[in-house]
């Protein structure tokens, strides 16, 4: 269900003063009746989800994005978002190519530096990018097209009637053509008379909706793609940090600073809030020096906490059910999910050049404005004296919402009075980086006469950190939120992302958080991967209680035909119910989020219950309006791998205030041998506006994999990852 407020969005384009054609676009919302725009039932996320909130918060921002027709006729889009592999640069380039009438390979997308004037409109999260820029990018390109056509008509002395664009040319009625390059100067003249821009009809799309390869794929396969640590910032020395033996520990004393300073290649040492930094000529030497440091430490913030104590706190924190298990039949289940590292392959890294009166930062940042504000405050500089460059990132999965490495690099650069290129080791990244918070789930459904009367889910989670600007957005939008009362940020995010796709009678989903000072953060689906994943497992258990087939049961209770269509697609394509050898089983899961929905059907080989492997997967997804089906398939494939990993083997053990895992040999994110040799993905045809994409794939796959495991082994999984021994010798603290 689309929010009425969003349907009334419109966009204003304007000419940016420049020698070549440059179009800015701002969003404006027509006056709406706020009461009518924000209905209160049924569930908040059905009406106004987190992505909608991010769109509305960004609405008043002027000059949100700028499209320029360069003097060579190519187009450059300045995008105030972060690319981390999710494919938004390709998708937005496709929107430009479609609306402007230019070849895709002549569209460049540049990630904007931090632009504080954008306020809430430069946060990459909540599966929100395409949803928020689908309109503005097309309007900017349509305005540019209209001006190019007007300039051509002026040159030819004709009317604009019937003039079109294709392949970077304006095409006249009698076969005349003129290149954008030849027109961009004239099209930039403020006195050019133009018609009102009109958008191409979606039915006429030839680029949008066509499977397209990434625009940066060639750079990636040739090694030319530059990530933060690949940038050549003059004088920026390789820098690493010796970190405490427990989370948030601080430096008490260094016993051998002089000896380490004298080591080959070492240039400087500095103590900062997070540890002891060493700058050296190479990262190899910085690493050796960091390891040689003898440091004594003050306690951290959770030194007494281990998995058992945290689990106990979570169980105690889960809110009680409302419905007592009396008079009716009921199903109960409890689930535990371990901490999970984001573990992007590019570890936390940043370059900082801090001078007395200014600073410059380079990093992969999904919230660069908050990073800029925080770093400026930390350095005692005015915000506009801190330049923050957004660099394409090597994976994120939520991690790069935080700017830990950028802030740390700024502190080190200030202390050392030199530019630094900071790299976190993998061990640093896994032990002191961010993680999905551990959670405990209690579910209860009451059933009678084949119906589900009530469905209750109580989630207790270690606090998820939202101090990357989302809190400020929610505060600013508080009056518009579809949730009552003074809910905290976490509760608001929970209620605007979590909803049940099923008609399960009275449904309540509640979160309670345990405040432990650990490094947490949203992990591909803020709460959905575990919360909705657990529900999909529970749905199978309710079906079993009622003696129903898991697919038939879901079909009967899903709310919409659109939802049933994706389920039917995987059932048909995956051959649900076909005979399989002993030890093999199918499992199914479904998820609906951010106006998109998906179903996943997997087959698992669990002949050895300790070494299960998902051998095949069929996924279908309806994104409302798929921009790049090929990129969406990538996102679903990634979501499947994430689900395989976190359901079966990948998690963090917390032991006396620190994760034990320190590398991929210990944190068992899936490898090639753990993933299916047969994957089929189906993107449903367009039906409306684009829904969210980045986070959608995980929860349905979590449910499908756990359900397949349960059906293959007869063991109901209750704790995730299912196979989770400490099967390694931890690195020294």
């Amino acid at each position: 269900m689309a929010s009425p407020a969003l349907n009334r969005r419109r966009f204003l384009t304007f000419l940016v003063a420049a020698p070549t054609l440059s179009i800015g676009v701002t969003m404006a919302t027509e006056a709406t009746d706020a009461e009518a725009a924000i209905p209160t039932l049924p569930a908040p996320a059905d009406l106004l989800d987190l992505g909608d909130i991010l769109i509305l918060a960004g609405t008043p921002t002027a000059n949100m994005l700028v499209l320029t027709i360069e003097s060579d006729g190519s187009a450059t889009l300045q995008l105030p978002r972060e690319e981390v592999g999710q494919g938004i640069t390709t998708a937005t380039a496709m929107l430009v190519a479609e609306e402007l009438g230019i070849e895709l390979d002549r569209v460049k997308v540049k990630l904007d530096d931090a632009r504080p004037e954008l306020l809430f409109n430069q946060l990459t999260g909540g599966s929100n990018t395409i949803r928020s820029v689908y309109g503005p990018v097309r309007h900017a390109a349509a305005a540019a097209r209209t001006r190019l056509i007007a300039a051509a008509a002026q040159r030819w002395g004709t009317s604009t009637q019937g003039l079109t664009t294709r392949d970077g040319l304006v095409v006249g009625l009698d076969g005349l053509t003129e290149s954008f390059a030849a027109l961009t100067g004239a099209a930039a003249k403020a006195d050019l008379k133009t018609a009102a821009p009109t958008l191409k009809a979606e039915a006429d799309f030839t680029v949008v909706g066509t499977p397209t390869s990434r625009i940066d794929a060639r750079a990636m396969v040739t090694g030319a793609q530059r990530y933060t640590l690949d940038l050549d910032v003059p004088g920026a020395l390789p820098t690493m940090v010796r970190r405490p033996p427990t989370i948030n520990g601080t430096v008490k004393a260094i016993a051998n600073a002089a000896a380490v300073r004298a080591m080959p290649g070492v240039v400087d040492i500095a103590t900062v809030e997070t540890g002891v930094a060493v700058a050296a000529e190479t990262f190899g030497q910085a690493r050796d020096a960091v390891e040689a440091l003898q440091v004594t430490w003050n306690a951290g913030t959770v030194d007494g906490e281990s998995d058992a104590s945290i689990k106990q706190k979570l169980r105690a924190a889960a809110l009680p059910f409302v419905v007592p298990p009396l008079l009716t039949q009921y199903v109960d289940a409890e689930f535990d999910f371990a901490f999970v590292s984001h573990a992007p392959l590019e570890t936390n890294s940043a370059i900082a050049d801090v001078r007395a009166d200014r600073a410059e930062i380079w990093a992969g940042l999904k919230s660069p404005i908050v990073a800029q504000q925080t770093i400026a405050a930390e350095l005692g500089l005015p915000q506009d004296s801190v330049k923050v460059h957004v660099v394409q990132g090597g994976g994120s999965f939520g991690r790069r919402l935080f700017f830990d490495s950028a802030l740390e690099a700024a502190r080190i650069s200030k202390a050392m009075k030199r530019p630094v290129k900071l790299m976190w080791s993998r061990v640093d990244d896994m032990r002191h980086g961010r993680a999905r918070a551990a959670s405990h789930h209690k579910l209860r459904a009451t059933v009678a006469l084949g119906n589900v009367l009530t469905f209750e889910h109580r989630v207790a989670s270690v606090e998820t950190d939202f101090r990357h600007g989302l809190g400020e957005i929610l505060t600013a939008m508080a009056a518009s939120l579809p949730v009552a009362g003074n809910l905290g940020f976490a509760q608001t995010v929970f209620l605007t992302t979590i909803k049940s796709p099923y008609n399960f009678g009275i449904t309540t989903q509640l979160l309670n958080e345990v405040p432990l000072r650990m490094h947490t953060g949203s992990w591909r689906s803020v709460y959905s991967a575990n919360t909705r994943g657990a529900e999909e497992i529970f749905v199978d258990e309710i079906a079993r209680k009622l003696g129903r087939d898991p697919v038939a049961f879901r079909r009967a209770f899903l709310k919409t035909a659109r939802q049933r269509a994706v389920l039917d697609k995987v059932v048909t394509e995956g051959g649900w119910g076909k005979a399989l050898p002993a030890g093999f089983a199918q499992g199914v899961g479904f998820h609906d989020e951010y106006k998109s929905c998906t179903a996943c059907l997997v087959t698992i080989d669990a002949r050895d219950t300790t070494k299960p492997r998902v051998v095949s997967a069929v996924i279908a997804a309806d994104y409302g309006r798929p921009i790049n089906p090929r990129g969406l398939e990538s996102q679903l494939l990634g979501g499947l791998s994430d689900a395989i990993s976190t359901t079966l083997r990948a998690g963090l053990h917390i032991d006396r205030g620190l994760p034990l895992e320190g590398s991929y040999s210990q944190f068992h994110y899936a490898r090639q041998k753990d993933t299916p040799t047969d994957v089929k993905i189906f993107i449903m045809p367009a039906t409306g506006e684009p829904g969210g994409a980045g986070e959608l794939g995980v929860p349905a796959a979590v449910g499908a994999i756990a359900n397949a495991y349960a059906r293959a082994t007869g063991v109901k999984p209750r704790s995730f990852p299912i196979i989770f021994p400490v099967d390694f010798e931890p690195f020294p603290r």
């Binding site: 991929y664 090639q672 040799t677």
Partner: protein, 154 residues
């Protein structure tokens, strides 16, 4: 500090470095060859996979001294000018990369596999341990099979 001379992508280079400096940092920090990526430093993630005399190695654990007098090939040296290697072409066909950070290592591992095993089975491909945190494995698998076809066509 001692000097070590070797070739990188056909170019003769000499680096002044401690003998035990990992080749990865000689390449990245001293020679500016940034295709091989750091992901773990202990030969686990394989993001830095490159070739030493045509064999796949992980330069994060190869001392620079071991490269002396030998030929190092990184992802930058795989294509012949603008003409991509068949594995790179297969990678583009299958649109494998997501964030791209592990892809130089994945590709160099695939090239080494196809050199040893021109028609790899799924089990052969399973033996590649390179981590792709974006989870692009299925497309990696398809691209390796496609590259085998392309290379078979000569």
């Amino acid at each position: 500090m001692p000097n070590y001379t070797f070739t990188v992508n056909g170019r003769t280079v000499t680096v002044d470095a401690p003998a035990d400096l990992p080749l990865l940092w000689a390449l990245r920090d001293k020679l500016g060859v940034t295709g091989p990526k750091y992901g773990c430093g202990i030969d686990v993630c394989k993001a830095c996979t490159s070739h030493l005399d045509g064999e796949a190695v992980n330069p994060c654990v190869v001392p620079v001294a071991d490269a002396a007098g030998r030929d190092v090939t990184t992802i930058e040296g795989l294509a012949d000018g603008d003409a991509l290697h068949p594995v790179q072409r297969a990678w583009l066909e299958q649109d494998v990369a997501q964030c791209g950070y592990c892809q130089p290592g994945q590709i160099m591992a695939a090239v080494a596999l196809l050199k040893r095993t021109p028609n790899p089975t799924d089990a052969d491909i399973d033996a590649i341990e390179n981590v792709c945190r974006c989870g692009s494995y299925f497309r990696v698998r398809q691209a390796i099979k496609r590259a085998a076809e392309l290379m078979g066509q000569g």
